[in-house]
Symmetry: D2
């Protein structure tokens, strides 16, 4: 069934744009991890609609409530239920859409698949479902950070024709603050302004633009990813491409790598000052043979321009009559600023699931210290689980 992700750290989500609420169950979470609603709320607030003029004006606080799986501030290892009520629903905006299909949206295909559809706000196809991803993603980030020192950071690297040159971002030292310091979440202030202007340019004309989100992972443990079908890049591709409005995924050299020869493309190995095996370059994007090699994992996700636009378009009605429509309602002129915490969440869910898979299979018995490293960074002595 389509609404669960993960084998060990398993997230099952529910909820539509205009139902009672949205949320998820997190099953298989390690026990004794300090967890409160505020741990989840930070990223939910980065995802929230109505956070700036370049996002949909829908007013939701997206305040989450945890109603199981936590006792006295600690995860108990039993399923964690997270619920966010829908408070600012305007069903009327969608009356027109109960008749006509929005071009390139999910309206038509949900009807084709299910023969029925919750029309308001796009029902299950609404980006509100990503609340059920971002909340557990925040917990996954916390586990990865605590266990292995892993950090996951995404940022906007392209809006329409404004492309942030890769060399202007130092992935070794990129910080959350740099990303959050503007409403488009581009860590380079100069390009951020250009991007905001590009969004403003279409927003005021009821149109929309797409863009690209780049995501990096620092301090990923070595050995994550399970060939041959659950290779790390395959799971990352699935996880990111399951987000609404995506059109492409690439990691490391990506499509551009196809223009190089093997000699140009290969990342030569060397041994660093700590005696660790490293790669001089990182066109592999931190993953080789489907398995993380400890270098920075970097990937890019293409998001199309939002389909719902306030412009006249030819389309058909549910009973196949050709018509014109102008979409009402509140929509993102560009999804990428709010997609940043969504990509981070999906990457975190992949990594924590693969970390637990690797721990179960390859660390059940003592590792081979000649070829392997501990997965876990040094823990302060009196650490509770976290």
């Amino acid at each position: 069934t389509g609404s669960s992700y993960g084998t060990h750290f398993r997230v099952s989500t529910f909820g539509e744009s205009h139902g009672g609420g949205v949320g998820c169950i997190i099953d298989g979470c390690p026990p004794r991890i300090p967890l409160t609603e505020s741990d989840l709320q930070f990223d939910l607030d980065r995802r929230r609609p109505g956070q700036s003029r370049i996002t949909t004006p829908r007013k939701e606080t997206d305040t989450c409530r945890i109603s199981s799986g936590v006792s006295e501030g600690m995860t108990t290892g039993t399923p964690i239920h997270v619920f966010v009520p829908n408070t600012d629903q305007r069903g009327l905006d969608y009356s027109e859409m109960s008749v006509a299909y929005r071009p390139s949206h999910a309206d038509a295909t949900y009807d084709m698949k299910y023969g029925v559809r919750s029309v308001q706000g796009g029902g299950r196809s609404s980006a509100r479902e990503t609340i059920g991803r971002v909340a557990p993603g925040a917990l996954a980030k916390k586990i990865l950070k605590q266990f292995a020192g892993t950090e996951i950071l995404a940022y906007v690297s392209q809006v329409h024709h404004v492309v942030l040159p890769e060399e202007l971002v130092d992935h070794e030292n990129l910080t959350l603050e740099q990303i959050e310091n503007n409403i488009v979440r581009c860590p380079n202030p100069e390009y951020a302004e250009k991007m905001i202007a590009a969004i403003d340019a279409v927003r005021t004309k009821g149109n929309s633009v797409g863009g690209v989100v780049t995501c990096i992972v620092r301090n990923a443990p070595r050995g994550l990813g399970t060939p041959v079908f659950d290779k790390l890049e395959a799971e990352l591709a699935k996880a990111c491409m399951s987000l609404p409005a995506t059109k492409g995924f690439e990691f490391g050299s990506g499509f551009a790598g196809t223009f190089l020869t093997g000699l140009e493309h290969n990342d030569e190995f060397y041994t660093d000052e700590n005696g660790r095996i490293r790669t001089r370059t990182n066109r592999s994007g931190g993953i080789q043979g489907g398995i993380s090699n400890g270098e920075i994992i970097n990937m890019r996700v293409a998001f199309k321009p939002t389909s719902t636009i306030g412009r006249k378009q030819n389309t058909v009605t549910r009973d196949k009559v050709e018509t014109e429509m102008i979409a009402r309602g509140r929509h993102d002129p560009c999804v990428v600023p709010r997609a940043v915490p969504m990509v981070e969440a999906m990457v975190a869910l992949v990594l924590v699931d693969q970390l637990m898979a690797q721990y179960a299979q390859c660390h059940l018995f003592p590792i081979n210290p000649e070829l392997q490293e501990p997965l876990q960074i040094e823990q302060p002595q009196n650490a509770t689980a976290l």
Copy 2:
């Protein structure tokens, strides 16, 4: 665990480059489908090493043997075991590699993950594992064709700097013959020659190049893909990105779509002469909201230049000593010609699995004829299962 794909039509694969043999189990296959080894051998022969001067010279017939799940030429619905023996193994080629890591290959990360590795021929990371994908892919293609008239065709659209312009390929009428009519599997003869020359240019210097495989699906039933995590493009992305040497995946407008506005990017709906809802353009690549809309599905997969090259490179040995190496053994100068049947197989496995999922959930009860279509094309009256 990483070596199974699919929920309903489940493929589990086994085998390394230099073990006893390679193959798979197919579980959940519909019963009473005529199946013989020759049904699988056609695509295995298109995948085979040693098929032309621009592929690895390793001599394997890759003749497959079915030893269960078929009775009197018909699938019985029970697990189908397909086995291909390894006959042309040269372990010696890899003695050097038992010491030094091939840059950008899986040698190092398999050691990091498992603490042990079957060195010869890259062990499980060898492309020979794809036998376990291509054989069941052939059966999946047969089921899709018979049930829904679905056709899956992949071809090489780029080798190194030689990029086949999209407008030179008519996806409506592309045929297998056009693809198979040259050793690089590019349906345009002129560009095929350029591509072969580009491969020859590096092959003779022990180097390698990458490229892109484009894959299309005609007559995909509407409604395939299971939001929110198993959206069709997410499953296709995972399936294709699980193939060896991949670096990127995109569908429909892909990364290029991010340069368009919503108004430019949207595919307007219209009603065709048969009263069916169609899209005027297909930047959606046949998938909207994670669900197939019946238009041609098109996607592109980026393959890096082969990592194993006969050129001097700096690397390290298993015990972390910096060294130089020139890879011995027989390797593909460019993987894309042999990747064509591999991409087709993975796309087929995704579609047959999603077809069975859609049939189970949304066709258990009578469909809503106003919004839905039967999944199955008209069957000739006396058809056995196939």
Copy 3:
């Protein structure tokens, strides 16, 4: 992870005895099925605590709320979220138990497994989790009844030493009314009285008794169950043995069958008046070779005497000090009356999941009318999905 059941009709549950609430997500439900909270409430009320003097006095209405997956009274095919708030929590009852382990209860093993525990009401080990089973079970029953005319009925067949002779129950004509006509849910009034007396006898002394629930399935379609690991009896055994307090499962002749020879035990085949293949006897319990044969499926589930008793017992505290305890709080003197709807629910979840699996694999193509029957009973012409 442990809190999901089913592959096609997938139920994920959450919630503890004293958290915010209990419930589930149902994913993969066929669309366009009329569904309201009252469809679920009937069985939730049969499960509810405080329903009679022979169940725990805890006062909960267990009123459920559906907050997604239904639009205008119809399932949309997207995840259905069902929530029941905990309203009558007495945490104080359990202060003693936060110190001492209740013998034969889950207190100790949850600590051993997770290293932490939601103490009040037994946390996740409380029978309140079964709300997340009984609600989706009611929907599964509705689907099975509508699609195949399948009926699932469980009843109490033993309480302590009071054993209802099998021959006193006519499985062909047993009705829900006969079962619900007394508070112990035994369809034979005379034995019901004896059973109630047996419960009263221990209840007044703070003790408890166990019993057996028998469950039958009429009109199960033929062909359900997926050898070799997901044989129907294996899935039924798992589903029933996952309920709290179970100690044994048997079907058809069960353990008693081991005292017969093959000749005595075998069910001879014959052809009935409608030309259908039937068995003269039904020691196979409606399942042969792991697959339903269309005869009545019958099984028995053993439930131990409730562990939490108001009697002095030797035990240890969480810090391993030997102590004596008398369990406070409100507990069932005998679980079987409330276990009846729980067993029905789990059997329904198994059957609907296997029905969808069978439909996907073996009915994708036209069946072989010589050997197979349609899964679905004749539908009235204008039937919506239901």
Copy 4:
């Protein structure tokens, strides 16, 4: 799909009685475990047909071959393929059965499910499929023994009316030798003779008898089992009830426990000389709240009398004509002697899967030493993985 078991240690099986061969793929096995064919052959020989006069005379050596997943005598962590050819096939024995259905066998229901059937030897319903269980079970036993000192021993405790009194078997000190010292695998010589006589009595008359296999687990780590659906007893029930010819499963006090009151049934806790929490009695059968508590796990599995008997029975043909038949071919007069290694194997597969699940979820972070114990017993210093 029905032919895979396990999430972490995943076994997928294939093969019918009269196909090319039978076997399995083991995916997710920890790496660097010494493994040779002889490790598996010991238990395959205990399962083999033709091992004594009280088993089917079919002559198969069941010699297994490992063709992947092992390099230089060590598991590599990649899928392990185990194959056993079918050498002694007598298709002719089954010509009659290609026409008539054997009463209580799987002949009829396989036709009902799949609409086709590999008739010879019962095809996939043949006990030969259990080769694909016993081989991986042997590896699972080896892992459990090495990692946690866990021992799994099953024995025949009943044949027809000959019931071995429980008190005559000391589960603390039972040995494999006691079990293997007679052809019926009953550890009590006196009762073994009675059981052999009971089998001989029916064997000579072409009839069959059933029986019960008891299985115990010593030194099971505490904390295995994943509430609420994958409770240890639920997984054990499914695994055992998926074996051919089973009719019932019970653990600890089982069905007999339903005749006790809570006070009589509860196992009181105490603290032993090592400061470990223990239970005075073990009616819980080593499992409480679905989780192992470290005490001996004990369970009993009921096997019906073999359905295929050399006696005249009424049945019907495939085209529904009533007829009489006497089953030809070679069959077990009583399955329990050969079922002993099959039950052990399934219990081992459950425990290793739950061990890896527990390790991944609850031992990723430092355990809570006040309430938890390490899963792993002390390892000798220079141990390789094993």
